[in-house]
Symmetry: C2
Subunit: 342 residues, 2 copies
């Protein structure tokens, strides 16, 4: 579609613009050395590239800046990723080596590393528990009316909710029920818990316990996953140093969105695994028209999956970010995998 030379010029322009944030002119491209033509020639090509929709001109007497399409081409034809700096690699090693007890801590730490390495905003999603299974269930009465329900998953995650005890339910009934559940439901995938509860356990409970209805309600409550997937943000203030967000209005629309965790979860939770790049208006959400969002997935012991992402202006260091995300997502999977065996 593009000639070799056009491709080189586009590449040079995007590269330059990513560094300077200023419209780049034909002269500066010519002087770079990697495209050995005169400004005039480059100007002609630039006019063509603009007509094709890869470049834009803020005004007649300014240089060119890449359009979304230009960035897209740049990303799709990215040169093989250059290896990261040694010091950065060391950070990854540390992540894997560190004795972090909880998954959340690993994820949080990874987010901090990501933000400080890239100078953009990192958005990480905690592992999706969809694929994990039940390890242990417990009901601990606090007083006459309330109890804590505790669920431990196969990956060692602990979830808890406060539930109300139906009046008149005997302690022994409750204990018996819990024992039954542990016997019957241990190892069952989390997303099948409720179905199993009704299909298999229901009758059993009905046989030996009073207050069937209320008890089932209690258990149903316990198995209702309370929280959404957890969102970890880091480096939000890196957004402030981007010249494209000098305009407080634009800045606010983005930062506002970052406070809406449910929306973020939806935006990051892509079906696909691997690395994904959404440039400008390729993002569904209006607030991200000036941003690019790059995401990668990690896995926890092959069961649960989560997402890590970087949000920055469309004028983003794609090569660096993609490389970093790729390595970090692997490092995370490594740090998390094998930690909890079956």
């Amino acid at each position: 579609m593009l000639s070799e030379r056009q491709s080189m010029i586009l590449n040079a322009i995007v590269d330059d613009y990513i560094r300077s944030a200023e419209p780049v002119g034909s002269r500066s491209i010519s002087k770079r050395g990697d495209v050995a033509f005169s400004p005039a020639t480059i100007r002609n090509e630039m006019a063509d590239l603009e007509e094709l929709g890869f470049l834009e001109q803020p005004h007649t007497s300014a240089g060119r800046i890449p359009s979304n399409r230009g960035y897209r081409y740049y990303v799709d034809h990215l040169a093989p990723l250059k290896p990261l700096k040694a010091e950065d690699l060391k950070l990854f090693k540390q992540l894997a080596a560190e004795k972090l007890s909880a998954v959340e801590e690993v994820v949080q730490h990874a987010g901090t590393i990501l933000a400080s390495m890239t100078n953009y905003t990192s958005i990480l999603l905690g592992p999706e528990m969809f694929n994990t299974s039940l390890r242990h269930f417990q009901l601990l009465p606090l007083n006459e009316t309330t109890a804590v329900a505790i669920i431990v998953t196969s990956t060692g995650e602990v979830e808890n909710r406060t539930v109300s005890i139906p009046p008149g339910l005997s302690v022994s009934d409750m204990e018996q029920t819990v024992n039954l559940l542990n016997a019957k439901l241990a190892g069952v995938p989390m997303h099948k818990l409720k179905a199993r509860l009704y299909s298999e356990i229901g009758q059993e409970i009905q046989r030996h316990a009073e207050h069937y209805e209320e008890l089932m309600k209690l258990l149903d409550d316990s198995f209702t996953s309370g929280k959404d997937q957890k969102v970890f943000l880091s480096g939000t203030t890196n957004m402030l140093i981007q010249p494209e967000f000098r305009d407080i209005g634009k800045l606010k629309t983005v930062l506002d969105l970052l406070e809406e965790t449910p929306t973020l979860t939806r935006l990051l939770n892509s079906e696909q695994k691997g690395i994904q790049v959404k440039i400008g208006s390729e993002n569904v959400h209006q607030a991200f028209v000036n941003c690019s969002l790059i995401t990668a997935t990690y896995s926890l012991d092959g069961e649960a999956f989560g997402t890590i992402g970087i949000l920055g202006p469309t004028r983003m260091e794609y090569a660096k970010v993609i490389g970093t995300l790729d390595l970090l997502s692997r490092a995370m999977s490594r740090a998390l995998g094998g930690r909890y065996g079956a």
Copy 2:
């Protein structure tokens, strides 16, 4: 110290400035009606007030703005708090009425309300568990080498950590130990757990279990409170709409600090109960010189205590914020208290 008239004028100036964010001149004060003197008279008083350090002048031909000292006087001599709007009160009622299962949800929700009612940034600290006591302890093995330690407090909070099992420790030894702990330590305040573990339980364990050292290490790990007090932020982007933070540099120093949860915890965790107002440089932290921080404390069932706070520019609607914090902290204590009986 200040004459009746000076006091009134200072009050009027602060009031005006809080609303307009512009230096206020003698004419506009005179026209307000509540200080019935000519601009010239007011000018004279203003000059005096400036000499006394209550006012400042950006430049010779501008109006006056309050100094930190001026704000302090204003706050200390604040008129009796006017009651909140009916719609706001309704929000509080809802908070108390809502069936929120977890303490964290109550706190989080309160933060959202606070930020949206005041249009400032709310900073809430989750309850300090210092005063709660142990309800239940459990060790759940995940595989040969790791286990989850689960601690349930008297207020129904659940904490969990992953710990490593010393090789060779038998399951029955572990179970026996856990039973012993529950028998001996239930009801013991959290901050005394470790001391009791060593003073009373140590010998007992030594008597019947092998691997004494390793087992104690495991238990010590379990009782080491992993997380700091949790911090909930809401309405950080409200900072962007304040004209004093039009300057991105200033904005960044503040927002950067908001990302440092440990520092925030330290800044909010005041010894004193009740409402506290820190104006401008009264704040210890450099980043808050242009801000005021107003905090109040809430309690959870009379045991654990937490803090709620509002951060805004020194030019802040003190009356409104103080009133709101006062009511909300009570509402929270009410919503949380009695929920978990002994």
